[in-house]
Symmetry: C2
């Protein structure tokens, strides 16, 4: 019957609609055990699967507290890193996801056999195989420990810059073989990364983050409201300008005394918010992602082949910092 | 006294706050005379100056109707172009602005001595001198005339691609020597152009546009509301991601039977809308632009020298169109 329908219509009429979940987590405290945290992630996975989701996006560094906020020596530091993935600490999440036939994006701290440290995310398919891997390129924070500050931001000290570029990859055939991309936290504010994926035809961008809600050291700074606005604005506009869906998922709330914004969102290729978290705790958001809704943008307004003029974009790769015209 | 104050404080304490106006126009019909149109622009200039504005931003192609909507032969076409700037048709605007000590951005169709056609904008200083010139790089529309369509979009037919790059320039010392940049219409949706200016330390982006509110040929398409949202979203996010102010100004309303969105805005370096047009007619919007409000973003979140990783941005200049991974 299906074969007959295809003959009648003249082409396979496979839908390319995937129910996707963002699995925002509340804070993961330094004192929480790995098992406690994994149980929360599995509970979110099961909740999303029960709601029909086939793909679940967890936050950046989803297995632990945001440990770059503290100075520590190498031996202690390395306890926050995963030496293999999966590993006995998180095998249960992989097993449960495969049993449920659900894929997932997971952010974690990666320690390689060669001793390199990265802020990493993987996307795992519904069959448990790793579909793609990304290592964070836009590391914020500082290398040096700042004197007399209770809370640090030491990503530039603890991680090497990502060395895998922006590698788009395909989701499973069951999902309609969509083009997927990954970014991590601060990356979502950098249009260069989005465009590198846009130039690979990305249809769904997967992103997790841990973003400060205020200065935890009590200095002046932007409000949590403004920081959440920035997070959402960057996701909306870059989704629009690359004609892609985007899922952007927070670890939120008061983590070891430092506040993290929530505001997890699912964005459509028009830049419109179709789902948004309401809490700063463990919370599932859901949307039916129609990959073919990317076509309008990719074929018209953002038809790159027709409209881009790279001969004028040289500064983007030829210089790093800003160089103002003489005063 | 001023010299004494400087010695006491240790540095000049010049403020860098400039009152800027967006001068949205309603439609300019094909039958309107050049003099009628210029009188409207001068009236808007005077209204802005009376409100204290020192810089006024007019739309793209502000002297005429949006003529690329019709097929025409070269001889008729060239009547819509300016062969010099200023010229007798618009000298009165230049004179009045200089008398008022007000600078302005003006979009117009440029025909060079060599016979080249560009969609151009200039910024004129308060002394009447041209401070900067820009020729639109991201031309939308088509080269070919589409059969049986009442309204065309023939920018790719009538204009050559801009050949000046994205050249930032300084405003006058009286304004605090701000770094200024210009884009035109469709350019505002392309983060590459913004970033090229961001890499020159831009503090105020000047932009005019004529953007369709709906398909004038009656086909399906995006609503005026969605198109206005896109226009505003692109301006907000690119202002934020480059830590710059932006003024984005429409020619709006029903022009020769084709609808144009309004939605002119002034955006701060946080991406927040600080002024927005309420009508589809001639209307002034105003804001006090503090150039030093760009510092926070340029020195922290978007400190390019610290955080950009151009070795991974190669695709942006090495390929034009999208190339998806194999299915």
């Amino acid at each position: 019957m299906a074969a007959m329908m295809r003959r009648i219509i003249g082409a396979p009429c496979m839908t390319r609609i995937l129910r996707v979940a963002g699995a925002q987590t509340g804070p993961i405290q330094r004192a929480d055990t790995r098992r406690q945290t994994l149980d929360r992630l599995i509970a979110l996975l099961e909740q999303a699967a029960a709601a029909g989701a086939k793909m679940v996006v967890f936050p950046e560094l989803a297995l632990t507290t945001f440990f770059p906020r503290w100075p520590m020596e190498r031996q202690e530091l390395d306890t926050w890193f995963e030496r293999t993935m999966p590993n006995p600490h998180c095998q249960a999440l992989f097993d449960r996801a495969r049993d449920l036939g659900v894929g997932f994006y997971l952010g974690y701290a990666e320690l390689t056999e060669q001793g390199q440290h990265f802020n990493t995310a993987i996307t795992v398919g519904p069959d448990g195989q790793v579909l793609g891997k990304y290592r964070k390129i836009h590391l914020p924070g500082s290398v040096e420990i700042k004197d007399r500050q209770k809370y640090q931001q030491l990503e530039k000290r603890y991680f090497e810059y990502g060395d895998l570029g922006f590698p788009a990859f395909r989701g499973p055939k069951d999902w309609g073989s969509p083009v997927l991309g990954m970014l991590i936290c601060n990356d979502r504010r950098w249009p260069e990364g989005w465009r590198c994926y846009g130039l690979q035809g990305v249809e769904l961008m997967l992103m997790g983050y841990n973003s400060a809600a205020y200065d935890p050291n009590g200095g002046e700074g932007e409000s949590a409201e403004l920081r959440t606005f920035h997070s959402t604005l960057a996701a909306q506009s870059n989704a629009y300008m690359n004609a892609t869906w985007a899922v952007s998922v927070a670890k939120a709330g008061n983590e070891d005394g430092a506040g993290l914004i929530g505001g997890s969102v699912i964005i459509d290729p028009n830049g419109i918010i179709v789902a948004q978290a309401k809490t700063l705790g463990d919370e599932i958001i859901l949307a039916d992602v129609d990959f073919d809704a990317c076509k309008q943008g990719k074929e018209k307004m953002f038809n790159f082949a027709q409209h881009r003029r790279p001969q004028w974009y040289g500064r983007i790769v030829e210089q790093v910092g800003a160089e103002a015209p003489p005063a």
